[in-house]
């Protein structure tokens, strides 16, 4: 199953771009999602919601995509996942205070996808909301 992405614009307290993911995010297609996000950033997106309602599967390469998307939305180049990862402190993310950044947020993950995020600690980096409305209210 391929991965299809659908983009929408929404207005919360700030303009939010929503990417809906439909299918499976794996090593064969995660770079496409990064490139999609790069295009959105260049077009002006600064707040992004990933709607995971129809994402059936996410591999560890999907986690690399999430890291890269976060950097892109902060105006940084995505990292080389194998060459080492500079601290995101340079992006102004204060990880010591327990506050999670709000520029990139996630909503409605299926149980298997949520387990991946939880098991790898990504829930400390991204806010995960039960549905789109709740997520938009959090921007």
């Amino acid at each position: 199953m391929a991965l299809e992405t659908t983009m929408e614009q929404a207005t919360a307290r700030v303009p939010v771009t929503i990417i809906s993911l439909d299918g499976e995010l794996d090593a064969s297609n995660f770079n496409e999602l990064i490139e999609t996000t790069r295009g959105l950033y260049e077009a002006g997106t600064r707040n992004l919601l990933l709607d995971l309602t129809n994402l059936r599967f996410m591999a560890s390469s999907g986690l690399v995509a999430l890291h890269s998307i976060l950097r892109l939305i902060h105006g940084e180049a995505p990292p080389d996942p194998e060459a080492g990862w500079g601290a995101l402190h340079s992006l102004g993310l204060d990880v010591s205070g327990g506050e999670t950044q709000t520029e990139v947020q996630l909503c409605a993950p299926q149980p298997s996808v949520e387990r991946v995020l939880t098991r790898t600690g990504l829930t400390r980096l991204f806010r995960i909301h039960p549905d789109r409305a709740t997520a938009l209210a959090a921007f």
């Binding site: 199953m1 391929a2 499976e24 794996d26 090593a27 064969s28 599967f57 591999a59 560890s60 390469s61 986690l63 690399v64 999430l66 890291h67 890269s68 990292p79 996942p81 194998e82 080492g84 990862w85 601290a87 995101l88 402190h89 993310l93 990880v95 149980p111 298997s112 387990r115 991946v116 098991r119 790898t120 600690g121 990504l122 400390r124 980096l125």
Partner: protein, 168 residues
């Protein structure tokens, strides 16, 4: 009919029940070229084997995750752009869901890969290297042996859970 039933009557019902439970419930295999575009077929194979045996969502998803990560590593780090194949065999036996991932890539034992330090905030650790960790977290056993004649065989085992039983 009744005579036949009498002959088939086990000496001890408990023993017969044990024999029935130890039956191999489902077995499927698939060989694909070492191409990331074939990973979806590998995942579908595992799902089909799990569905055959009535696995729970969590049991199925865990094994799909572990197999995908192992097959991805075999293609990216094992074959590393060279032509080759990956073969996946999935079997449920008793309370064990067993999947083997076999390839003809240079020898590499993923069970020796150290886990990333999850105590480090994700903003401060590198994003790669999570695949083997995820695979480990999804299964109960991960064992490696070299393939006779060249290549690798990785065996993943997870406790099999059927629908109607409590998820872990």
């Amino acid at each position: 009919m009744s005579g036949s039933a009498d002959r088939s009557q086990p000496a001890t019902p408990r023993l017969a029940s044990r024999r029935l439970a130890s039956r191999r419930l489902a077995s499927r295999s698939l060989r694909v070229s070492a191409d990331l575009g074939r990973l979806a077929e590998v995942r579908d194979l595992v799902r089909a084997a799990a569905d055959d045996a009535g696995a729970t969502e969590a049991c199925t998803a865990d094994m799909v995750q572990a197999v995908d990560e192992a097959a991805t590593n075999a293609i990216i780090h094992g074959h590393a752009g060279r032509t080759g194949w990956v073969e996946v065999g999935a079997t449920t036996l008793d309370d064990r869901f067993v999947v083997t991932i076999e390839d003809d890539a240079p020898a590499f034992d993923p069970t020796t890969v150290p886990d990333p330090d999850l105590s480090v905030h994700p903003a401060e650790r590198r994003p790669g290297g999570m695949g083997v960790l995820l695979a480990r977290l999804c299964v109960d056993e991960m064992t490696y042996r070299p393939r006779p004649g060249g290549g690798n065989i990785l065996t993943l085992v997870r406790t099999f859970e059927r629908n109607g039983k409590e998820d872990r």
